[in-house]
Subunit: 382 residues, 2 copies
């Protein structure tokens, strides 16, 4: 996606092979800042403190963080053993407990450097470094390809919606940011929107603010604006009303984790929009790379641990006052706040999962059939 007319990915290896660049998303839309990562801890902090967020980008950042850890060892002439790799992996896995892509990317990189069979210490550190670099690059390129494929499959849905009411734009409601900024490029939920926009299909996006961190108002609105896509910001409370009044043709959101039966864990509040969509006959689609599917989980409400974040995200709102980005206090200081970050939308409320292999029904059988090999390789089949 372009920023001020320049095409960007959200993470990239710079000309200096010891530096990976990311966009510090904490200051958008108020400031556009590129930040260098030079070691493992930079990556852990970027994930934990949410300089980067979004399941696919978290995975990509984890992969590049392992590369950076290895790069410093090689630069210092030190070896890389199995214990090092495990220590790095553990540090990354602890940074955000809910994101399945984080575990997936770390696991994949670990496999890439150990699949030769012998102990890692027997492999020259330079070889391990090269393997980690190729794996990080592959994860990023595959993410771009995956999102492009999700976009093509979702485009069909938008094209159909447009054909049903060609006299007006297709109205899409989205929650949080499952956009370009949440991935390496294109986004998941936004990929069909960007492709439709490029194909000349008129699209208008209702952007949920997405309290407490306002990823919709801050990130989705900003990236849609950069791309020239028509959009309107609404508070999270408004979506049900818009659907009651026929002002939403379809909902399109991303996800952090989908269980094998199709329960969808996504940003807190997604469940409420899915209920409203169901109640009003509005299709509710979830866009995801299949790496987001957790084949080991079945009942999302019982099995998925929900991250609780700082109460200060509720008691304060980040915004700009007189040119300065600051946190405004909005609650009485004596009132406690509670901040669950995700909720689970049961599969029964989901019209379809838009994956890189097409639109799949949110049920055990359909998912297992479409992703048979993945199911067999990564965990017990249902």
């Amino acid at each position: 996606v372009e920023v001020d007319g320049i095409a960007h990915r959200t993470i990239w290896l710079t000309e200096d092979p010891g530096t990976v660049s990311i966009i510090d998303q904490r200051w958008l839309p108020h400031r556009f800042e590129i930040v260098p990562l030079r070691e493992l801890d930079d990556g852990v902090r970027a994930i934990r403190d949410m300089l980067v967020r979004g399941a696919p980008l978290i995975g990509a950042t984890a992969a590049w963080s392992l590369y950076l850890a290895a790069h410093r060892r090689v630069a210092a002439g030190q070896p890389i053993g199995q214990a090092d790799l495990e220590e790095w992996a553990d540090a990354l896995l602890a940074a955000r407990p809910t994101a399945i892509n984080l575990a997936w990317a770390v696991h994949r990189c670990r496999r890439a450097v150990t699949r030769t069979g012998g102990p890692l210490a027997d492999t020259p550190a330079e070889t391990t470094l090269g393997r980690l670099r190729r794996e990080a690059e592959a994860i990023c390129n595959e993410d771009v390809d995956t999102n492009r494929a999700i976009g093509e499959h979702g485009l069909v849905l938008l094209r159909d919606a447009h054909a049903r009411a060609p006299e007006r734009p297709v109205n899409v409601l989205t929650h949080c940011n499952a956009g370009w900024l949440a991935t390496v490029d294109w986004g998941t939920a936004t990929a069909p929107i960007y492709l439709a926009h490029r194909a000349g299909i008129p699209v208008h996006v209702w952007v949920d603010e997405t309290r407490p961190r306002n990823q919709g108002a801050q990130l989705t609105a900003w990236e849609l604006g950069q791309a020239g896509v028509r959009h309107t910001v609404v508070v999270d409370n408004a979506g049900g009303h818009l659907m009651q009044r026929g002002q939403v043709d379809l909902c399109l959101v991303g996800t952090d984790r989908v269980t094998r039966r199709g329960d969808v864990c996504n940003k807190i509040g997604t469940y409420l929009k899915a209920l409203a969509a169901y109640d009003n006959g509005v299709p509710f689609y979830v866009a995801l790379p299949s790496s987001t599917i957790d084949w080991k989980s079945d009942d999302g409400i019982r099995e998925i641990p929900i991250e609780e974040r700082s109460p200060e995200e509720v008691s304060h709102v980040q915004g700009i006052v007189g040119g300065a980005v600051c946190a405004a206090g909005i609650t009485p200081p004596a009132s406690p706040c509670h901040n669950p970050a995700f909720d689970v939308t049961p599969a029964r409320l989901v019209t379809g999962l838009i994956t890189e292999r097409g639109v799949v029904a949110a049920d055990t059988h359909a998912l297992a059939e479409r992703f048979d090999r993945v199911a067999a390789a990564d965990g017990p089949s249902p």
Copy 2:
């Protein structure tokens, strides 16, 4: 309710009979400011600019505004004719289009001064003034009595919930502010909570932030805190998740207008909470004085006009930064915002309406039966 240990109503005639005092609710919880109203325009502005809000308090403010308009005429030795009364009424009715209590209170005051039959100009202005004063006082006192009665009926529900799980507090979720601050005293949705608290029933309230104006985070949390009631502020997105996890025993909200079949118009986002309650088997109660029932409306979604407020309420959040109350910008300046202020919860999602005459099912027959005389007096019966 007490503020810093001093019992307050939210509106009162001062020792100077030309001045009515209100609390300027725009600066809570950051500042507690009492503001004098001295003429009709002060009252219109207080309603329009939301120094006061909440259906019952808007009604009370309208009644006192008519009194103040009459008081100035009398003080200037001028007469009060029918045209004056209509002009004052029109100015008040235009201040907030959705609140049925506004029209109800204005209509009631108009009737109080014209029921003698002859032209208003034949009545001495002092007599009209006296009637307006008595009517405003009656509206306020009846509101307090009504809310107290709502509280007693709702208390039974909280007592029952406590009896079912005596080992923990009763968890109530509320949206917006249907509290003391929205009425003359007690509140509607909060009246059962305050009475339960005084009766020693342990209650904990989940307070929805209620974007865009944050009446929950700013007002409900503040007044519950003043009264010593346990509460926790959550973002509007969190309620569905809390209900999924069994952390809500019942929902309890207020309303701005209820149709004769029991559709509930309330702060935007109420509908989403009602959907989640229904989906999780959590009782969803609406507390209201019967003056809130609009006997002329049936289908709330089709018939109730929804107020659209300024987009700046979405693009900016009011909060406190370094001791100063300010509006923080949270959206990209180029992104448009849309701000519908209310939504409609269909009667099928409402467990019961807690009124001053008891808990009534949200359906045409039950409502008509319970309020037979009111239905006959104020509009066409269903």
